[in-house]
Symmetry: C2
Subunit: 107 residues, 2 copies
């Protein structure tokens, strides 16, 4: 479980990655752990939240200082290789929505 | 499983609701189904995606035509009552982030 990310005050950028996994692991867990590690080391990384249903539908949201930081992460070489393998092996379908968070609140 | 929402081209508004459930159902499933039904009937509703881990951490993203539609949904009376009960009973913690989606892409 990732839990709720502790973030600074808005504005910041959210990358909403909604996806449906294929069957079986096929190296997915190892890649996922490595991508989390790599993302945390990127400039402008703010946080990460992820949840997946038992039936394989998942939502991961990564948070970035700004749109530039989010775009830079997409281009990181090892991440680009993971995205390619994602299209070929791990995901039956996905959508990425890149958004600017304007306000945030808790309980 | 909600699956991936079919949405129009950006821009639109995403309400990211990250939450941790308390133990037990306590009327949560019935309320959830009713809130989905009610949201779909609101002006500017575009779609909905939700995933929850086995350990109770969940992310729900609702999509709206614009910020005005998202704010109006927050104020709907029956929804406001559900939010109050959420704070009191269903959620151990949560954060809401309201964001403007600027771009979206799939595989």
């Amino acid at each position: 479980m990732t839990g709720i990310a502790a973030l600074p005050e808005p504005p910041y950028t959210a990358v909403i990655f909604s996806n449906l996994r294929t069957e079986g692991d096929q190296g997915y867990a190892v890649m996922g752990a490595r991508m989390q590690e790599l993302a945390k080391a990127q400039p402008g990384y703010l946080g990460y939240e992820s949840a997946r249903d038992a039936d394989g539908f998942g939502i991961t949201v990564s948070y970035w200082a700004d749109d530039h930081a989010a775009r830079a992460w997409k281009q990181v070489h090892e991440h680009a290789i993971a995205q390619q393998r994602g299209r070929e092996v791990w995901y039956a379908d996905y959508q990425v929505r890149v958004a600017t968070v304007g306000r945030a609140y808790g309980p």
